[in-house]
Symmetry: C2
């Protein structure tokens, strides 16, 4: 079984060989081409290909599905960036910053439809099942984005609500990527479901780790801003953990720190988090989802050595330090 890196590269070649979009109208398709070419690690398509390969050969259908997942993911990024007023993505100006909001909306719309166009190429026997998984997931991703926006205005976000939001917004698409690959590879119902659960728990662990690394990572080494989430008052796992573990006095301190200049706000908030052992709290939670992911992986009825590539992907994704 090929490693994540190999399949990610293989998918990148596939993207270069297949032009999903026609030439015209230029003002619609040029932004689409630029987003698809702008890279990223292709985690979703590679995961789809990996679980496809685990159960069968890498058929054209698995590539169609992988492309659909990548196009859908890119569509959500374009629209999320408009909703979040984000100026940059992958180090480049976002589509709406470069081409205007109207083009951003329309490019996202058409990219979503092209995702379905890729799905429509899948063998008739598998199509209804894949379409069902894909639709359910796509709806959940939209619901997750709505919850994320809703929570911006709410103060009492507890851990359950937060986990529900990140599950929908981030994890279900990773889960579906693994499941769809498995179904197309010929996995039985149980194995395909365990692929889904593996992807879902991995996705949650990954997002939680992203939250953790914002305050406790080695971001300075990579030039990234430490505490970006703290500066923008984003409600991440660390904030949720703080709200769960805090007392009134610490809460007053937190509110006081929120009024400080960015650098001091970040350093004092991180110190407060450490006093409360939010870093330990977060690490335990990440480990529990990560363990859960690996437990589901081990339930798949394949010899351990065939599962090693997916296991290594999980370990690699979760062993980041920044």
């Amino acid at each position: 079984m090929q490693q994540f890196q190999e399949l990610s590269v293989q998918f990148e070649h596939y993207l270069k060989e297949h032009s999903f979009f026609p030439a015209l109208p230029e003002n619609l398709y040029q932004p689409c081409r630029s987003v698809v070419a702008s890279g990223g690690k292709h985690v979703r398509p590679a995961l789809c290909l990996m679980s496809g390969e685990l159960f069968g050969k890498l058929s054209e259908d698995v590539f169609h599905a992988a492309a659909a997942l990548e196009l859908f993911h890119n569509f959500t990024l374009i629209h999320d960036d408009i909703m979040d007023h984000a100026p940059l993505r992958r180090g480049k100006p976002t589509i709406h910053s470069e081409y205007g909001v109207a083009t951003g909306i329309l490019a996202g719309d058409v990219m979503n439809i092209y995702a379905y166009e890729q799905l429509s190429k899948i063998n008739t026997a598998c199509l209804p099942k894949i379409l069902k998984i894909f639709n359910k997931t796509a709806i959940e991703v939209c619901e997750g984005q709505q919850l994320d926006m809703d929570y911006e205005a709410e103060d009492d976000i507890n851990l359950d609500k937060y986990l529900e939001m990140i599950s929908l917004k981030t994890s279900v698409l990773l889960a579906a990527s693994a499941q769809i690959g498995a179904v197309l590879g010929g996995a039985d119902e149980e194995d395909a479901l365990n692929c889904y659960r593996f992807g879902k728990n991995l996705g949650i662990a990954f997002q939680l780790q992203d939250d953790y690394l914002d305050a406790f990572g080695a971001k300075k080494q990579t030039g990234k801003l430490l505490g970006g989430d703290i500066i923008s008052n984003k409600k991440t796992l660390l904030y949720v953990g703080f709200k769960e573990l805090t007392d009134d006095k610490q809460n007053d301190l937190y509110n006081h720190y929120a009024t400080l200049a960015p650098e001091e706000k970040v350093s004092k908030t991180i110190m407060l988090y450490k006093d409360l052992k939010i870093d330990e709290y977060a690490k335990k939670l990440i480990a529990s989802y990560s363990d859960q992911a690996l437990a589901y992986l081990n339930k798949i009825k394949k010899p351990a050595e065939q599962l090693s590539a997916l296991r290594e992907l999980a370990v690699a994704l979760l062993n980041r330090t920044c």
Copy 2:
């Protein structure tokens, strides 16, 4: 065969009986429910049901497809209104005016996915074919919207370019509605294609007539504004016709009128159009597309009396005076 009005009402009942959207998240689905409930004539789903009934019984599948077409159409209206900065739709505030742009984008996105969710319920034997028609059409509708935006900034829009734009933006969805109904009703390839051509030509004629009525209709009787397109400098058939038939002197006059206050601008521009017989030019073109639509209808291998409902729909849509 049932008349348009009956099937439009039947579809409205269907909408009331079927709640496409779950209750939560409320901030996402309440706007969706409000758009679907806000009415309209349900031309696309009714056309789908009419052509479905022409060839077979009104199966559940035809209703699934009709619902998909209506949801897709509503999704495009929500997003178009954001792109066009439109404050009102069907006499009510547009979604983004009432709930904000972010909710408008997301509600449109999820409604598009729910359109595909309806399609996914269609019988496996027909699904790939319907999905193919639907995807092609959905892509074309986006391309039409892009051309419409592109043309706002261009002066030399000739008739061919204009017809291409309205074909994509408006007509292909009517065409696909008729074709999809026919396919699901069991029509052969040729009849389904003639349904498509009927819908496409009807759609073009309908849009051209909309342009005509803006200046030459009896809008004052209904309280609508006469010459709204002239006031907003919209590039409609009348503008395109003017550009084709004008000389330099008239062109100077047109440009001068553009500087006048709205009421005078409208009345003088309409007089200029009349001098150049743009009204006649438009009427001829409308008639030619309308005749073409009926010619394709007559090619369908069904007795004339069974085609009467579709014929009457065409006549009714094109005999509006406002």
